[in-house]
């Protein structure tokens, strides 16, 4: 059993939680962030990667639109390394009514979302795959943001300001003395150890799980409706700017270029359990049809992976519970002191990734009020580690880094003669000689990127590594890199063979979750090759089966 003490315990390591822990740490509070899984493994990692310009909400939710426009600039500045300034387009497709576009321009102007109308010819010049029948086009400041990179950036910033970040640590109890929260008890899942944190304040940022956390402290009826949405990553960048359909927010109205893929999304269906989100066949077909409206021939492109995320929507009694798209996407801050008579805890539910920083500020302001502290928010003023130079992400950046590494390789790495001598003498190899090997060719992930992160997080699963390194996220979906990564983890990661084999099994199983719902076309061909490698050549199904599967 471990004990800790912190001014503030933040529960839930998505974007909101990471933003909150950074905010409180920057205001000088001691803080601990807890998540039952990895950072950004819930809603934050399961979205389409859009950094909103605000354009999506200019008609349906003008206030959100303005916030998005403001926060877009801030996030681009403080999380430069996670953001790509792709720009965005709103296009009226042949199937869409023209009237909405007038409402849209009016709304955009009112809500101060920067926009310019461009000719359809110019839109088609910028994005040649676009439907040539588009009737109108507007350029906006949409960008894309890697949710994991952003969350880890905020977490590392918080750590630099003294906060502790504990992943795979599930909250089991929240202790009260009278009506005052005094401690949080959690279970460190990887080390099977209890952690007790005495504290003065808890901020519940558990997203779709926020109701369950509130329940633990006796604040009931915090109903969070998971609005399930599916997303499909299409191989390659079918577009290089974000393409939105200029219609009232609906299913499949956006195509977002992120890293090496383009992501189409999304749907919106009420789910029961945020832990188990289906990717139904009919919704997949619906996305393909929507893709066809934006990019003719979309169905012939290759889908590489699909996932479902749960929007945490606080239930508003004014609308039917099944209609999740029209629930408030603005944030709801629940003050459990006035609502439930429990002091020292607030919950924040809902919101958008783009405005995560603002949400964090607002909830920490509420906390400061309650604690009678007056400490200003400074999160917009300082870039997170890795973003200080202000250089935003570009698609070719790993290529550039690898080329640089290759260029310097001959100067700094052992010479051929040294290696030959070493080989003759049977010496173990120098790692420097092979640091620049590309372990995952699809995503240009080097051996050193893998070994460095393993040194930092020795108990990481291959999926934990994937979220930060993009291991196995390209077209081969782990066919070539997962055996290599397993081998490297065994050689350099200090894990034993049972865990290494278990990690490989877990990774293959987890990749399949996002593969089988979208398996068609070229990805079937890839899967047949991958199966031939793993089940055929490696006969991985006849390795010793573990007594219990590795899950963490």
């Amino acid at each position: 059993m471990r004990t800790m003490d912190a001014d503030v315990v933040v529960i839930g390591g998505g974007a909101t939680g990471a933003g909150v822990v950074r905010d409180v740490a920057m205001r000088g509070f001691s803080a601990v962030l807890l998540d039952k899984a990895d950072l950004g493994q819930g809603t934050t990692g399961r979205y389409h990667g859009l950094l909103h310009s605000g354009g999506r909400y200019v008609v349906s939710d003008p206030e959100s639109a303005t916030e998005c426009a403001e926060e877009n600039e801030i996030v681009t500045r403080i999380h430069a390394d996670a953001v790509e300034k792709t720009g965005g387009l709103f296009v009226v497709t042949p199937d869409d009514p023209m009237e909405f576009s007038d409402q849209w321009t009016e709304g955009a102007t009112k809500s101060k979302v920067p926009w310019t109308e461009i000719s359809t010819a110019e839109a088609l010049r910028r994005e040649p795959r676009l439907n040539p029948g588009i009737k109108r086009a507007f350029a906006v400041h949409d960008g894309t943001v890697d949710g994991w990179q952003m969350v880890w950036g905020a977490a590392h910033s918080a750590e630099d300001h003294g906060a502790k970040v504990l992943t795979y640590t599930a909250v089991t109890e929240i202790i009260r003395e009278g009506d005052q929260v005094t401690a949080v008890i959690a279970h460190d899942l990887k080390n099977d150890e209890q952690v007790t944190i005495t504290t003065r304040f808890v901020i519940n940022t558990a997203g779709p799980w926020a109701g369950r956390i509130a329940d633990l402290v006796g604040c009931h009826d915090v109903e969070v409706v998971p609005g399930r949405g599916i997303m499909i990553a299409m191989n390659h960048r079918l577009v290089n700017t974000v393409v939105n359909r200029c219609i009232y927010p609906a299913d499949g109205d956006i195509l977002v270029p992120v890293h090496t893929v383009s992501i189409i999304g999304t749907t919106d269906v009420k789910a029961d359990d945020p832990q188990r989100l289906a990717i139904p066949r009919n919704e997949v077909q619906q996305m393909f049809d929507s893709g066809e409206a934006l990019i003719p021939g979309f169905r012939e492109a290759r889908a590489v992976h699909a996932w479902a995320g749960a929007r945490p929507l606080f239930k508003d009694k004014r609308v039917a519970a099944t209609d999740t798209r029209h629930m408030s996407r603005g944030m709801s801050i629940l003050d459990h002191g006035t609502r439930d008579g429990v002091q020292g805890i607030v919950s924040i539910i809902g919101g958008k990734l783009t405005t995560y920083r603002l949400m964090a500020k607002n909830v920490v302001d509420v906390m400061c009020d309650q604690l009678g502290e007056s400490r200003p928010c400074t999160t917009a003023d300082e870039a997170v580690p890795g973003s200080a130079d202000g250089h935003t992400y570009v698609i070719t950046h790993r290529l550039r880094e690898n080329e640089k590494a290759r260029a310097t390789h001959l100067e700094v790495k052992p010479k051929a003669t040294d290696v030959a001598v070493a080989a003759k003498a049977g010496r173990t190899p120098s790692h420097a000689a092979i640091d620049d090997q590309i372990i995952c060719e699809c995503e240009l992930m080097s051996r050193k990127m893998l070994t460095d992160l393993l040194a930092e997080q020795p108990d990481a699963t291959l999926d934990d590594l994937r979220r930060q390194l993009r291991l196995g996220m390209g077209p081969c979906q782990g066919g070539f890199c997962s055996m290599r990564a397993t081998g490297v983890a065994l050689e350099d990661g200090g894990i034993d063979i049972e865990r290494a084999t278990g990690l490989l099994r877990l990774f293959l199983k987890n990749r399949w979750i996002g593969l089988w719902p979208i398996l068609y076309g070229e990805q079937v061909r890839q899967t047949a090759l991958d199966d031939w490698i793993f089940q055929g050549t490696f006969d991985v199904e006849h390795l010793p089966v573990p007594e219990s599967e590795v899950e963490l």
Binding site: A416, M483, G487
Partner: protein
């Protein structure tokens, strides 16, 4: 004929082929050879290199039923009887035996040893114990038995082979017949070319074709081996000159040495592929690489011709019979479209789904412990390998062989080459029997030697 001459022009140039073979994996290559040896004029069209080099480089017949199989030919008969939808139920054990023997004759003992009656258990690149039937001579010493002492040696510059993964999994596994091996892992350095730190297996294989390089390599390996150990190395021990390379490496190391195949391309598979393609070309099969079938003409239940497209050029090829040996989903011969309909992309033949499975359930959410029904989809054939739909021939002259035939999950059963060889023999023999000209000369001539006799 000198060794450098590559005969590409068939002796029968100008004449219409008797048979068009589509695909150049093991099924297509063996069928072409057998047809040609019996005197048929054969045109072979292939989109790319065949699948031999994408697999494990050995010859599988039957490895799991799902129980581990030790006597594959014997097991084929019972397996076929128990699985009437499986290709083996149409192919039959005799054709598999004939096919394997035929391959052995063509390949010779420098490329394949062993027999179809016995499986051997070989270590894989993740340290699993895999059954297979015929193996390259470079893998023989890897046959696992109780008390074997192994040293598995990796090369840091080759990222596709991780010796700890192999050695430690082997060490903790009980052998199929009981007993254990002991295995230790060593990682060493070796640059196949100066300053090359991220090389493919093929680069190593080519480097080790050079006598000076392979001597340096073998000396380095020798220093890592203890008394009484058998040496497992990645399957890169020589390319074109593999026979001399392997012999010299073994001789210098002075201990039993074997190769372990890893990620594709598989160097032992490439050696076999090159030998078979050369045999096909030497036999004066018209071998057209880089060519897709993009159309066909048919009349009255008879396929008249196919359109072969090479880059921008199209050519109509008429023939008496056509053999589809283009592989399964892995090659693109079969496809699942975005609506979930499976189809044959080459000739548009009807495909058969596994019994009791509809299009919506071809893929399941389970990764471990199941065979995806999708990969059992393929064309249906009768006992002569003629493509049928609901029991009746689709055309009276279209046959199928290898991975395109419905009913098997080849990589899980470890049945890929056995199905390919057996169906190639059956299809070739049925086609020969249907060709009036060739039938007159009889099938007795159908040995690989017949082709060389004609050439001389």
């Amino acid at each position: 004929m000198t060794a450098t001459a590559i005969p590409t022009t068939p002796t029968w140039a100008g004449a219409t082929p008797h048979v068009v073979v589509i695909g150049a994996g093991i099924a297509g290559l063996i069928a072409s050879l057998r047809l040609r040896a019996a005197g048929a004029r054969v045109t072979q069209i292939t989109k790319g290199l065949g699948g031999i080099q994408l697999g494990q480089g050995s010859i599988d017949i039957l490895g799991y039923t799902p129980d581990r199989v030790s006597a594959p030919l014997e097991a084929v008969a019972a397996f076929a009887a128990a699985h009437p939808a499986h290709p083996y139920s149409r192919i039959g054990v005799d054709a598999v035996r004939t096919g394997v023997e035929y391959l052995q004759q063509v390949a010779g003992p420098d490329l394949l040893v062993g027999d179809a009656e016995h499986n051997v258990n070989l270590p894989t690149a993740v340290g699993a114990i895999r059954p297979t039937a015929l193996v390259p001579p470079t893998m023989v010493a890897g046959e696992l038995h109780d008390g074997l002492k192994l040293v598995i040696i990796g090369i840091a510059q080759l990222k596709d082979f991780h010796p700890m993964l192999v050695a430690q999994n082997l060490s903790r596994t009980t052998l199929p017949d009981g007993g254990h091996v002991t295995a230790r892992a060593v990682m060493t350095d070796f640059e196949p070319r100066p300053n090359e730190f991220d090389a493919t297996g093929l680069t190593f294989a080519r480097a080790l074709d050079d006598p000076k390089t392979r001597r340096t390599f073998a000396e380095g390996i020798k220093a890592l081996v203890n008394e009484g150990e058998t040496v497992g190395l990645p399957a890169v021990l020589g390319g074109e000159d593999h026979k001399a390379a392997f012999a010299e490496i073994c001789q210098i190391i002075g201990a039993p040495v074997f190769e372990i195949p890893s990620l594709p391309p598989c160097v032992p598979g490439m050696r076999l592929n090159e030998a078979l393609v050369k045999a096909v070309k030497d036999a004066r099969v018209e071998f057209i690489l880089g060519t897709k079938v993009t159309g066909f003409t048919a009349a009255d239940g008879h396929l008249v011709s196919v359109t072969a497209s090479t880059a921008g050029h199209k050519r109509e090829i008429a023939a008496d019979a056509f053999l589809l040996a283009a592989g399964g989903f892995e090659s693109g011969a079969l496809k699942l479209d975005s609506h979930g309909h499976p189809l044959d992309t080459v000739l548009g033949l009807p495909v058969k789904l596994p019994d009791g499975v509809d299009e919506e359930h071809l893929v399941t959410d389970k990764y471990w412990g199941v065979a995806q029904p999708l990969f059992k989809v393929g064309v249906d054939v009768d006992e002569s390998m003629k493509v049928v739909d609901g029991g009746s021939p689709v055309y009276d002259n279209v046959y199928a062989a290898g991975g395109v035939i419905a009913g098997a999950t080849r990589w899980q059963e470890k049945s890929g080459e056995g199905i390919a060889l057996g169906s190639a023999v059956k299809a070739a023999d049925a086609i020969l029997a249907s060709l009036p000209v060739v039938a007159a000369t009889g099938l007795a001539a159908s040995s690989p030697l017949a082709a060389s006799a004609e050439r001389n």
